[in-house]
């Protein structure tokens, strides 16, 4: 399919439609392939409680969660990159993830139970969001440079506090905190996935209708100003919705790096820079990318004499990094 000069609805519908079908197929396959392979027939006949447990209590939540978190991180990556007009922006640049991680780590250190840890992490994300939002404002406007600097500074501050807590608590908890910082898609229930999905879906819904405004926002303040358009309200809506998405995912999955940076650029390299197209495609691509990474992190050392799994962030960076450099070199 040749890319038309101006984005027509026909083209949009075709590309996003094909992408969405691909998304569903990969999701379906990964849910059954494993390891270990779960036969759909065993599930339907439901004679074997083992298959049911494996599929509904472990596999399905994990795979769905990977797709939701991947899509969410990638979507917020697109949003922040347009907002800050900085190709290096990702969900972690703006300090929201730092706030979420700080909340989660503090709750862990205080010995809270797991649902409470998540709740505090999400609260941490929202509080840091409001704080950064207030601090970065200059005369009622939200300039990119100020937002970026405030976010980076806030992140540094949050991570210093995390390290401070880390050095004060016991060894066993330190191990857990490490995993929070590496990120994990493991051991979620369908219920938890549902909650995260609801929050993420809300944010994605708003961002989706803002995607045409992302084009304007990404022109920068000076250009929009001289054109006589005010993008200020859209900047704020985009910032808040993207932050809520990041808060929800970090609270449940910890810090999984690279998805929000890699996928949107990958999509842009192939489909160009129109946010009406790159936004939905990035959501789809992010889900597929994290789903496949999670699959590999389980598969690689599943059998044999190691029987352990890798943190999913290891896979996202190991695959994403070189592949991205290759694509970039080729397009230059």
């Amino acid at each position: 399919m040749k890319r038309p000069a101006a984005l027509s609805f026909d083209y949009w519908f075709k590309v996003v439609g094909v992408g969405f079908c691909f998304f569903c197929i990969v999701l379906f396959l990964l849910a059954f392939i494993g390891p270990p392979f779960i036969s759909p027939f065993d599930l339907i006949s439901s004679k074997d409680p083992l298959a049911g447990d494996l599929f509904f209590k472990a596999r399905l939540p994990r795979v769905l969660f990977a797709f939701v978190v991947g899509g969410a991180l990638s979507a917020s990556g697109v949003a922040f990159q347009s907002l800050l007009r900085n190709p290096l922006a990702d969900p972690y640049t703006l300090g929201v993830s730092g706030g979420a991680a700080l909340g989660g780590v503090a709750a862990m250190a205080l010995g809270f139970s797991f649902p409470m840890v998540t709740l505090v992490a999400f609260t941490g994300a929202l509080v840091s969001l409001l704080l950064i939002y207030r601090l970065a404002q200059v005369n009622g406007r939200l300039p990119s440079a100020s937002l970026l600097l405030t976010g980076v500074m806030f992140n540094a501050f949050a991570f210093a506090l995390i390290l401070l807590i880390n050095s004060l608590i016991s060894f066993g908890q330190a191990h857990q905190i490490l995993f929070f910082l590496i990120g994990s898609l493991e051991a979620v229930s369908l219920n938890e996935v549902l909650w995260v999905s609801l929050l993420v879906a809300g944010g994605l819904f708003i961002l989706f209708f803002q995607s045409s405004h992302m084009n304007i926002v990404s022109l920068g303040e000076e250009t929009t100003h001289s054109l006589g358009i005010s993008a200020e309200i859209h900047r704020k809506i985009i910032f808040i919705s993207a932050s809520v998405i990041v808060g929800a995912t970090v609270a449940y999955a910890g810090l999984i790096g690279f998805v929000g940076l890699f996928v949107p650029h990958f999509v842009r390299l192939i489909f160009g820079g129109d946010h009406r197209l790159t936004f939905p495609l990035s959501v789809i691509g992010g889900g597929i990318f994290l789903g496949l990474s999670d699959f590999l992190s389980h598969l690689l050392f599943w059998s044999g004499d190691l029987q352990t799994q890798l943190p999913v962030g290891v896979i996202t960076a190991l695959i994403g990094g070189p592949f991205f450099i290759y694509l970039m070199k080729r397009s230059l």
Partner: protein, 274 residues
């Protein structure tokens, strides 16, 4: 030489020779909780002048000066104490600090506790170091005979999984001290096939391995939420251990490489006895 120069010279001498000024004491520093326990058992508790923040057994150990934890040694404190010897275990990740101490003339002894037989050897090594070989032999033969007694008990064949952490799910694999202990007691470890000492298992692996007994050791590190943990396990009704209500919680500190290990082993055997 003027008075001022003399003062500066004196200052410099003091500055660069502080370890000449500190007198070597006859004390011992232990950098692992199980080493502290073993030293007390050998009757050397009164010679301990420095321990870690995790050395909480026996009660007397709590009163000794803390010079470090698992990941860090306060080298200045150790230099100031200037012990006769520092005893450390091989798996500790504080190599730089140890090299620093050795360069400054402090004797450091390494013991290995990675495997069960290394634990037995280390008791011998430790007692030899302090000329307490008789006591060492006594302790060792007591531990061995008590374990032998436990081994003689006829247990039904169960598939046990030792869980170290739930979020993420980390279990006791092969190639380590606890796996050796289970093997010695003829108990099969569901994760014994892994060469990784503490493999990070997925929930899928837990379900697939179908353990008949789950022993959760993570409560030592995550104090609260035993009921929550139980609820989490109970959702997997296809696991025999869950179906038959054989999920137990134990403190991992009972499995330190000291005489107390026997008590931990005894508890496991009692759980498995029909």
């Amino acid at each position: 030489m003027s008075n001022f120069r003399l003062k500066i010279l004196l200052f410099l001498i003091l500055l660069f020779n502080f370890n000449i000024l500190s007198v070597a004491s006859a004390g011992v520093v232990s950098l692992k909780p199980n080493i502290t326990e073993l030293l007390f058992e050998l009757g050397l508790g009164d010679r301990l002048v420095g321990v870690t923040t995790f050395c909480d057994y026996p009660e007397e150990a709590k009163g000794i000066e803390k010079v470090g934890d698992y990941s860090h040694v306060d080298i200045e404190k150790v230099l100031k104490i200037h012990p006769e010897i520092v005893i450390n275990s091989k798996e500790n990740s504080i190599e730089r600090e140890i090299i620093f101490l050795e360069k400054r003339g402090i004797k450091v002894k390494f013991l290995n506790f990675d495997r069960l037989n290394q634990f037995f050897d280390s008791i011998g090594d430790l007692s030899k170091e302090f000329d307490r070989e008789e006591e060492g032999k006594k302790i060792l033969s007591r531990i061995k005979s008590e374990l032998e007694e436990l081994r003689a008990i006829d247990l039904p064949s169960e598939k046990v999984i030792l869980v170290v952490g739930v979020q993420p799910l980390v279990v006791v694999g092969g190639n380590n001290f606890l796996n050796d202990l289970l093997a010695y007691l003829n108990i099969s470890n569901a994760a014994g096939g892994s060469r990784v000492r503490y493999p990070n298992w997925g929930v899928e692996q837990l379900i697939l391995s179908q353990p008949t007994v789950i022993i959760d050791l993570s409560m030592g590190t995550e104090k609260k939420g035993e009921a929550m943990r139980l609820k989490w396990y109970r959702q997997f009704q296809s696991i025999p251990a869950v179906k038959n209500n054989r999920i137990y919680f134990m403190d991992i500190d009972h499995f330190r490489a000291s005489s107390r290990l026997v008590r931990g082993a005894k508890k496991i055997v009692e759980l498995l006895k029909p």
